[in-house]
Amino acid sequence: MAELLTRDLTVIAGKATLVRAANLSLRTGELVALLGPNGAGKTSLLRSALGLEKRATGSALLNGADSERLSPMQRARQVAYLPQQRPLAWPNTVRDVIALGRFAYGAAPGRLSAADAEAVDRAIGVCDLSTLTERQADTLSGGELARVHCARAFAAEAPLLVADEPVAALDPRHQFRIMDMMRTFVNDGGGALVVLHDIALAARYADRMVWMKDAEIVADGSPEDTLTTERMAEIYGVRARIDGRSVEIEGAI
């Protein structure tokens, strides 16, 4: 079993505290949604938990090892990371972009071992991209591109996946498709931490919801326990009607 664990993790940039004493956990077999308004510190929490951003105090352990001390390759083999900004510099083919997911195993586009090629093919299958493998990535639609990035992350075949807003700016159907992929990944034994802004989508898919506001984690638990009218008002400043796992937002307070 793989796990990512932070204890009292604090991130400071200049005078601003971006994350304050956060205790976050992610284990294989669960899909965790990280929620909170813009600027709550979600991305900073993820990056510092992964050791990509310096922390001020606290600890972040990836399978028991300090994530800041891991080499990028070691880290990449344990957790795949899908950042919020996903610019592609060159018009590579879909297969070559996905092949980059195998970088931590010494692979490069056009230089894949048999095991690498299999992992790439599996990811292409999971993300339903088999008809697009030779297309140049700059000719794809937003939804197709999102699937390519997911496939790139899946191709790493790391036990854990951290995805920062993987469904931002996608149409409803693609949002569901991406979340279905995340669910399949978890059902197959992975663990996924996903930043979402769509509460209804999060409530539908997540095993656990982690709520952040003003640099702090304010709640962490199952949707049934943590998704309440009061919490929606407190975190997002909206009036919401909640019935089990379904949410209807009625307006700003």
Partner: protein
């Protein structure tokens, strides 16, 4: 054309071009006499023309182009922009400024290593500055503007040195540096630049896999296992050494490093790592051909290679920039 044939074809074309460079010139030599001269036969005059004049010059043009081509391809991979290039980023200009400095103060007469080392110091200083700026800003336009600033400053400083030049001879030396040329290069000069060119090229080839990772952007690249800091250091060091070495040999020659990778990229599926070696070969080939052209053109004063390269390369730069605008809005 398949990517596998690209390198052999370019290598063969380069050899052919270098051979052709030995045939052509003010007194054309037939192929059999050149071949005989290569293998130690032929008469003394032929051997002299081939071994002392034409071959070193052609090889100087080739390695200069190759160094600029590989540096351009690597810098484009690192900065994720097809307009990055030692000339555009001000690296060549800084290198020639440092080289001119060592000429002006007579330092270059102390040891024949002073000039290449000065050029490399200038190239490394400029490359490091660009890479530092690249950490702070995501905007490549900013980087190119910094490069323009560096070029202008180096140009101004060189003008100052020319203004103060003690005699017409040092003035003409400096102008040669600014314009870029491989005329009258000997194997000794090629040998002085060679260690730096080989080391720089080697570092760039050794670290090329990380350039593919950077296709995804820096954030995702470190996510998939790239050590970003090491990658930056290696690419900057490699490009600095190679560019500095080329400037030490031939002065500042612009735009080859932008044109060659641009032509190569579609053949290597736009993978920056795989573009390095073919870009180096193609850029070398281009400069050998351009230098043949320079020698054959019936002008009263021989044209400078750097001038011809810029005349061809600058419009290509503009064209690539305009295309890019259409693509990315």
């Amino acid at each position: 054309m398949s990517g596998r044939l690209l390198v052999p074809i370019l290598a063969a074309a380069s050899l052919l071009a270098i051979f052709a460079a030995c045939l052509l010139g003010s007194t054309p030599l037939p192929a059999d006499r050149v071949l005989a001269a290569f293998f130690g036969g032929a008469d003394v005059g032929d051997r002299l023309v081939v071994w002392q004049i034409r071959l070193p010059r052609a090889i100087a043009a080739f390695v200069t182009g190759a160094a600029l081509g590989i540096s351009g391809a690597a810098l484009q991979g690192l900065l994720r922009n097809p307009l990055a290039e030692p000339g555009v980023l001000g690296v060549s200009a800084s290198a020639s400024l440092f080289a001119t400095f060592s000429l002006y103060y007579g330092l270059a007469t102390l040891s024949s290593w002073v000039l290449p080392i000065a050029a490399i110091a200038g190239a490394l200083a400029a490359t490091a500055l660009i890479a530092l700026a690249a950490i702070r800003t995501r905007s490549v336009v900013t980087l190119i503007l910094i490069g323009v600033g560096l070029s202008s400053f180096s140009g101004a400083a060189m003008s100052l040195l020319m203004n103060l030049a003690p005699n017409p001879f040092s003035l003409s030396d400096m102008i040669n540096w600014m314009l870029g040329s491989v005329a009258n290069r000997s194997f000794q000069e090629v040998g002085l630049a060679a260690p730096f060119l080989i080391l720089g090229g080697g570092i760039l080839l050794f670290s090329r896999r990380g350039l593919s990772a950077l296709t995804l952007g820096e954030e995702a690249a470190s996510g998939i296992g790239l050590n970003l800091r090491n990658q930056r250091i290696l690419t900057v060091l490699g490009a600095g050494l190679a560019t500095g070495g080329s400037v030490a040999l031939a002065g500042a020659i612009g735009f080859v490093g932008i044109v060659a990778p641009h032509i190569i990229r579609p053949f290597v599926r736009h993978d920056p790592a795989r573009s390095l070696l073919p870009s180096a070969l193609l850029a070398g080939l281009i400069l050998v051909l351009a230098d043949i052209g320079v020698r054959l053109l019936p002008t009263s004063n021989e044209l400078k290679l750097g001038v011809v390269a810029a005349l061809i390369g600058a419009p290509a730069f503009v064209w690539i920039a305009i295309q890019r605008r259409a693509l990315n809005g």
